[in-house]
């Protein structure tokens, strides 16, 4: 399988076996097909951008990676997804799988806990007890999510009292506190102001040295700025995936990709 992935010149380590391999993935909600026959892989230490208009199956794809279909009514997943070479359907310990995958959704979900406890929760769940160790993790994750300076004096206030943009960064800090190897971001910047978005984008560029990142975004330019490769989904169909630089310089396999990037539909 290793040789099957040709190096594409991106800084992602294309030689190593991919982090995630998706084969023939079909996702249904009842009779509605959200994603059809997807083949895609996520490489190690890359940012994979996923673009496409609403209803194209981007979010469903992220859900399937974390086996969220188990608690979403009606969601059915077919096909094969491997994570580090292991079929995630066959992973008995789904909790261990999910703990290695950080997820950030469009609207922040601040757990009804203090700022500190929001970020300390995942470490506590995996058994970190020592106060100094937790302090260190909390500070590191908050710094990386570009939130530390704003909340360092109010770690004991409720996370839900933060502003929307701060809450979203808190959610990102919480995802990072899992120490994931795969970070799934679903339109993370919807509730975040442009300046903060840029700061988070800088953080993501750093983070990809430690993990793989899948970035679902409505902002085509965000994919252009961040993604090593970009995938284009359209109404449940995976149109194409290619190096971001190629796609944005007009070298596309399918004219619809070009039309979307140019803003002609969607």
């Amino acid at each position: 399988m290793v040789a099957g992935i040709a190096p594409n010149g991106a800084e992602a380590s294309a030689d190593a076996p991919p982090k995630v391999v998706v084969q023939n993935l079909t996702i249904r909600y009842g009779s509605h097909v959200a994603l059809h026959g997807l083949d895609l892989s996520v490489r190690r230490n890359e940012i994979l951008g996923i673009i496409g208009p609403a209803g194209s199956g981007k979010t469903s794809f992220l859900r399937a990676l974390n086996r969220m279909d188990e608690f979403i009514p009606e969601m059915e997943v077919e096909g094969r997804i491997t994570f580090d070479g292991r079929d995630i359907r066959r992973v008995r310990n789904v909790y261990a799988l999910r703990s290695r995958i950080g997820v950030v959704f469009p609207l922040p979900v601040g757990l009804p806990l203090t700022v500190y406890e929001n970020v300390a929760l995942a470490p506590r769940l995996r058994g970190v007890r020592k106060g100094s160790e937790l302090d260190e993790i909390v500070e590191r994750c908050l710094r990386r999510a570009a939130l530390w300076e704003e909340v360092k004096d109010r770690l004991d206030s409720l996370g839900s009292l933060l502003s929307g943009g701060q809450q979203q960064r808190l959610t990102i800090a919480r995802a990072l506190s899992q120490e994931p190897d795969l970070l799934l971001l679903d339109e993370f910047s919807i509730a975040v102001d442009p300046v903060t978005t840029m700061r988070i984008e800088d953080v993501l560029k750093e983070l990809k040295h430690e993990m793989s990142i899948v970035l679902v975004t409505n902002l085509v330019q965000q994919a252009r700025r961040l993604a090593d490769r970009t995938a284009f989904f359209l109404t449940g169909e995976h149109v194409e995936t290619s190096d971001t630089a190629r796609i944005f310089s007009g070298i596309v396999k399918d004219p619809r990709t070009h039309d979307y990037i140019e803003g002609r539909f969607g």
Binding site: M68, F71, A96, S99, V103, V109, P112, L113, L158, T171
Partner: protein, 296 residues
């Protein structure tokens, strides 16, 4: 269709009619609300006026004497506390556990739905039917005899649906997004329940339990065949003793003791309703406290 220049925001006949209807609806609804308060106020006023003279420290701390026409209500008061306490010990753990299971674990299928339906129906079973069940099951089959244990278990069975429903509602009030966020981090169901769901539902659960207490303390039918005595001058020493109870005592002196002074039944009723109202006040206090520290 009028073409004449109209004054800005001028009222049309239609507006005037809307205003009248608005006033009418508002007044009508307000009057219904006022009507709701009237019986409560009348009952309380009547009890205070006619029973207030019976209340004294001695009334609360001595047993009845002279064929229950004089003396106090201590054995009934203590008995009611016993009955309610034992009923709580039996019903709260079972009810809360069942509610957590139904809310957090049970899959949404026909079995769960039938169980939920059964619980709601159980809440509608008349208390006298529960009483007969209590006689059959606890007094006779389990051989507890007529005792606090049998009476409290009957009360527990009767209030179990209330505990389950109120607990489940408190759990469901915690947004699902919190659970999903937790599961997505790799938390198990129980970790999610323990760290996120229960801490945010516990005050609501307590409120439900307090309301159960207030309801249980006034019940008469379920205990009169299973453990409550007509007259016992002694305090119960254990759960296998019979006991007097406030609710039955009120029934007895109001209907079976013709020589009782007029103020006596009103005094007993006043004490009983004060117990219930105190419990309700506690539960309202909890609600206010919960609202004050709502975390989302």
């Amino acid at each position: 269709m009028t073409t004449a220049p109209m004054e800005l925001f001028a009222g049309t006949p239609r507006n005037a009619r809307d205003h009248r209807v608005e006033w009418l609806v508002r007044t009508l609804l307000g009057m219904m609300t006022a009507l709701l308060i009237v019986p409560v106020v009348i009952v309380l006023a009547l009890l205070v006026v006619r029973g207030g003279s019976a209340i004294s420290w001695e009334f609360l701390t001595t047993p009845p004497v002279d064929g229950m026409t004089a003396g106090g209500i201590l054995p009934a008061l203590v008995g009611t506390v016993w009955l309610v306490a034992v009923a709580l010990v039996a019903s709260v753990p079972v009810g809360v556990a069942a509610a957590v299971y139904l809310s957090e674990y049970a899959p949404d299928n026909w079995l769960t739905r039938s169980i939920n339906l059964a619980i709601i129906n159980l809440a509608g079973v008349p208390s006298i039917v529960h009483a007969l069940f209590g006689v059959g099951a606890f007094v006779l089959f389990f051989r507890f005899g007529t005792s606090i244990l049998a009476a409290s278990l009957t009360l527990a069975v009767m209030t179990l649906p209330v505990v389950i429903v109120s607990t489940r509602e408190s759990l469901q009030a915690v947004p699902r997004a919190f659970r999903e966020a937790c599961w997505n981090m790799g938390a198990t169901r129980w970790q999610t329940i323990r760290r996120i769901v229960l801490p945010n539902a516990v005050s609501g659960i307590l409120t439900g339990i307090i309301l159960e207490v207030s309801r249980t303390s006034g019940e008469t039918a379920p205990i009169m065949f299973t453990g409550a005595a007509f007259f016992l001058p002694f305090l119960p020493q254990g759960v296998l003793d019979q006991t007097m109870a406030m609710s039955l005592h009120l029934f007895v002196i109001a209907t079976q003791v013709p020589d009782a002074p007029d103020a006596l039944p009103f005094g007993v009723a006043l004490v009983l309703i004060s117990m219930v109202l105190a419990m309700n006040a506690l539960s309202i206090g909890f609600r206010i406290y919960v609202r004050g520290r709502k975390k989302w």
